[in-house]
Amino acid sequence: MPTNESTEDAPRTPPPASAEEPSANGRPDASERPDTESSAAGGEAPTEPAMKPKLNINDLHFWYGDNHALQGITMDIQPHKVTALIGPSGCGKSTLLRCLNRMNELIQGTTLEGTILVDGQDIYAENTDPVMVRRRVGMVFQKPNPFPKTIYKNVAWGAEINGYTGDIDALVERSLRQAALWDEVKDRLHTNALDLSGGQQQRLCIARTLAVQPDVVLMDEPASALDPIATSKVEETITELKKDYTIVIVTHNMQQASRISDETAFLYMGRLIEMNPTDQLFTRPEKDRTEAYVTGRFG
């Protein structure tokens, strides 16, 4: 884990030593780690506003070739919260999300400016390895994309390549339980994941991401391909997950954003228009454009 990379940023935002620990000692038990973290945070800073942001995005610009897709985004994302990104199609939600775990680098001809800090560490610093960033900041995609392997292997895959030395069986079960899928698949773990329904596949993808034990989980419209029942299952899952993880979710569904998120950021044409606690943004938006969008008058 990139603990050694924090030297540069340490003076600016010194992370409490205990918050660094879980990632430094390899692969701690996911169910224990949040306690360690929150108790450490709780001891020093019990009130919400004083909480250190999990992600800190500062004047972020992003280009696809000449297309200036993100034009100076600055925002903080709080730990153990669900942050929703909303905005009209093409405004840059997915782009922003992919910047957060360096998935955009896989697209050729792109440029990024600005900084993104995870726990105070610059994920785009020269000596930061994108592979390490992605282990810390996991991602669930819009369309379920399980590997054409068994359910078990899907969940175990990430942990195996990351050199997980613990009990893989236990990890698989715990991840599937966290994703609210265990009861449905426990008797068919060794059957092909592609035989699952779309909603089950998406929860499997969530489980697969959790098995790598990231701190942050990014989700790009995770329920857009699902029916209402599967959607509500995935939403329940997300609400459960925020105890242990920091979640950033892109959604086009205003009801969904207001149901599951704590904070909402409204993006428009590559800029952040407004970011506020969800109930405030939906009921008392500061900006006219936000109000127009959330009330369905445009976009």
Binding site: N101, M103, L106, V131, M132, R134, R135, G138, M139, F141, K143, N145, P146, F147, P148, K149, W157, G158, I161, N162, L194, C205, R208, T209, V212
Partner: protein, 321 residues
């Protein structure tokens, strides 16, 4: 289908004049009109040409080899280890030819499968756009080289090279032929495997990267397994191509049927034997002449079996994603 060529009803024309869509005459025969039928049968006839040819070849081989098997029992054909139709003491043990073919095929597979798959992985996953633009046509060019050219390449380039490395190696040997057959089928393995890798959805690679995998892990542990069916099919098709390869083994591997697994030996492949007899002055009706049909039949059955297996594998893995 929804554009009837001549809707003759006046109401329809009126409707068009008013800028509305004319009401379609649902009784019109469009879907199974005589024209559609004619097209269907014409296409079907083309498709059946290849099926009929295959059946024809099988029939000729079977009919022509009946007289052979009337004088040479199966027990000798599959039990004897010598193949000496030209000698006074004639033996017809297919293993002497089959082992030559298998030896060359195994050597070629050892060369072509790893190199072909590695090329496919490189072109599909690692090469920049520019490199790919050069490499792909290059491979296709290699696939278009006439096999007789490969034969001379084996004889005049690879064999001398091998002779320098292996003391006492004869001019004709299975190794040289096998290596060059392998080189010949590399483009086939590479091109078909690359297609299989390209067919793997990008979302699987993205999933692997998002789980913190390196490029190598994403390729070797997700993409290659996902393309397994197509890659296996490319292997089998290439190997069955190697089995049927004629010019290279005729020129470079020798003309001495021999049951051996030593790649340094001069051997004779089944195809090379067929060439030797059919281009020579062996009179029709002799047992020697008849024997080429029996050998051809064995060759046909082997490649047929391999193609069926390749088909099965592709079909089995096709529904994977």
């Amino acid at each position: 289908m929804s554009t009837p060529s001549s809707p003759p009803t006046t109401t329809a024309e009126d409707a068009t004049a008013r800028g509305e869509r004319p009401a379609a005459d649902l009784r019109q025969r469009v879907y199974d009109s005589p024209k559609e039928q004619a097209i269907k049968y014409a296409l079907g006839a083309c498709a059946f040409i290849s099926v009929l040819t295959t059946l024809g070849i099988a029939a000729v081989l079977i009919i022509e080899s009946i007289p052979f098997f009337q004088s040479v029992p199966f027990s000798e054909f599959f039990g004897d280890t010598r193949w000496t139709p030209q000698f006074a003491d004639k033996h017809f043990g297919i293993w002497a030819l089959l082992s030559g073919t298998l030896l060359v095929t195994v050597i070629s597979a050892v060369v072509a499968l790893p190199v072909g798959l590695a090329s496919a992985i490189f072109i599909s996953e690692y090469a920049s756009k520019w490199v790919r633009k050069v490499l792909k046509p290059g491979l296709e060019l290699l696939a278009g080289v006439p096999t007789v050219v490969y034969g001379y390449f084996a004889l005049t380039f690879v064999t001398p090279l091998l002779q320098a490395a292996i003391p006492g190696l004869g001019v004709y040997n299975a190794l040289s032929g096998g290596i060059v057959v392998g080189i010949m089928i590399i483009p086939m393995v590479a091109s078909l495997s690359e297609d299989a890798l390209q067919a793997v959805p990008d979302s699987l690679g993205a999933a692997a990267y998002a789980l913190g995998s390196t490029k190598y892990e994403a390729v070797v542990r997700v993409k290659v397994p996902a393309a397994f069916g197509g890659i296996m099919a490319s292997f089998i098709l290439a190997v069955s191509r190697a089995i049927g390869e004629t010019m290279i083994v005729t020129l470079a591997a020798g003309a001495t049927p021999k049951l051996t697994l030593d790649p340094r030996e001069s051997i004779q492949a089944m195809t090379a034997f067929i060439v030797q007899v059919s281009k020579g002055d062996t009179p029709q009706g002799t047992i020697e002449y008849q024997s080429i049909f029996a050998v051809g039949l064995v060759l046909f059955l082997i490649t047929l079996a391999m193609n069926i297996v390749a088909n099965r594998i592709t079909r089995r893995y096709q529904e994977q994603y």
